[in-house]
Symmetry: C2
Subunit: 318 residues, 2 copies
């Protein structure tokens, strides 16, 4: 986007931060930092610039990527208060956006969330290709600085991710539905079939439905508790659907409509990867904020950022 790319400071060099640092190598001047000296050594040994203090890491940075877990964000934001260069754009990578937005008030902040990860953690597990093809949310709010947003969108597309624009509120609601809820359902399904006879008879549908119950409990809990308002709402909806199914069974009615619409929804998800078209947005459009939110709400994303245009993809309405 910018003629001269900003220096990027990646704070927190676990799986995500370590992958961001690797993905930007050669594309952006980038600096890494982690509170753990061993992690800093690993990253330095891998050829990255890793100063010994947070202050040195962010000095001169045009973009600061906070790649620390949710509970570590408030203290890091407090540490940054006095040392952040004026005008620096701050973003994060945590799985919930409304609480972080509140915590980052006063900064030139754009909430971010790459929908990528593996079951591994730590710098060594990082991978320059982790974000290739993944969705990466960048939040658009009424008060979002769109120049900052575009600068981040350029950076995110440079990692190979597609940028999904949406509000923090819409993000949290969607993530509750596609990530928090599946984690809760996997755990409750596994618990419901906890007797030995059920386990002896369990096969394919149990295996798929409980797979994510194998996640480390502290990770699932952090994901869900960080997004408790939206997840409680998603659970309201799920409970309603199950009550309806149960009452239909008790009332002698059928579940064919439920299964037909569930299958249609699942097939729409599979199909949406293919059925759509490339469109351009004008980064100078005075309605850009509205156009971006409309794109995200339709299931579309930004694939590339150029000085005179935003290259986008928009699914065929389904």
């Amino acid at each position: 986007m910018a003629a001269v790319p900003s220096t990027v400071a990646v704070v927190g060099l676990g799986l995500i931060g370590g992958s961001v640092l690797r993905a930007l190598a050669g594309r952006y001047p980038a600096v890494g930092y982690d509170t753990d000296p061993g992690t800093r050594e690993l990253a330095a040994a891998a050829g990255h610039r890793v100063p010994p203090t947070l202050g040195e890491a962010v000095a001169g940075a045009g973009v600061v990527v906070l790649a620390v877990p949710l509970p570590a964000l408030p203290p890091v934001l407090a540490d940054l208060a006095g040392i952040l260069p004026p005008g620096a754009v701050v973003t994060d990578v945590t799985s919930v956006k409304e609480p972080v937005r509140a915590a980052a008030r006063g900064l030139r902040y754009v909430g971010g969330h790459p929908m990528a990860g593996t079951e591994h953690s730590g710098f060594a597990a990082g991978d320059a290709a982790l974000f290739a093809g993944a969705a990466w949310v960048l939040c658009v709010e009424d008060d979002t600085d769109l120049r900052a947003w575009l600068e981040l969108a350029a950076l995110v597309t440079a990692t190979g991710a597609r940028v999904v624009p949406c509000t923090a509120r819409d993000h949290d609601r969607a993530v509750a539905r596609v990530s928090g809820l599946p984690h809760v359902l996997a755990a409750t399904l596994a618990l419901g079939a906890g007797d030995p006879l059920s386990r002896a008879l369990a096969a394919g549908s149990y295996r798929d439905g409980t797979r994510v119950a194998g996640t480390r409990p502290e990770l699932s809990a952090a994901l869900c508790e960080g997004n408790r308002v939206a997840l409680a709402q998603a659970l309201d909806g799920e409970i309603d659907r199950l009550v309806e199914a149960r009452d239909r069974l008790r009332g002698g009615a059928g579940l064919r409509d439920l299964f037909a619409s569930g299958r249609a929804a699942r097939e729409l998800w599979e199909a949406a990867r293919g059925a759509g078209s490339d469109v351009d947005l004008d980064p100078a459009d005075h309605d850009l904020r509205v156009a971006l939110l409309d794109l995200g709400r339709a299931g579309g994303h930004v694939t590339g950022v150029q000085l005179d245009r935003l290259r986008c993809w928009r699914p065929t309405a389904g």
Copy 2:
């Protein structure tokens, strides 16, 4: 088991019946039958004995395996009324056992359910190895003829399956938990994430959790509606667990205990395939009925039937 194996008539030559016929070839004298002439031709062309009428198929049979879908069972049972050889053992392969038990009253009937299948159907999709390693429930009730049960257990282990003994009631309850419930949850999860933004952000946990929502709706509906009493109960339990999780989130509490116990249940399922020991039961034991039900309730199964002993496997208590 018996010195001379009985002739087996397999009625219904779809995926399951066709696979049973193939799996028994060379081990039992077996005859197949299907109401569809094209299916009979296919099976005959594959080298099986396939008489043109149900009467000829079951004449002389010591065992009749009803491999027809649940809705077709009552008419087939009615057709068999006058023509079943005296003393013939009747079993079925449908996914619900209490309603069939009621329909088969008066016959020398043992309910059966092989926990095997693919997304394909029809005789051509059949496979002699379909049951290798799969659980195959054979029901044990207060009034079950244990000689008939043992004869079927020998036949089932000859297909490569492991025989899980349990009551129809316990079967239906377990199947509701490990099969009906996962199908309902996959459909409701897919529906809950039906908006384009959610679909755009959906990844691994959504993919796994909704996989079985891709099943043909009429199959999922038949599976669930056939077992409506037990599935409604399983849904009661699931709704309770979700209400508790939602209330904890709304009340500011955590979900770590839920995820820890869900993970433990899932890991117990994975581990139970390995941790156990071989034990023998005596087929002449006058407490055999109790011993079999105890084995099934503990998550164990019968692996082989010999004249003087039943070879069994029992998991280590977990």
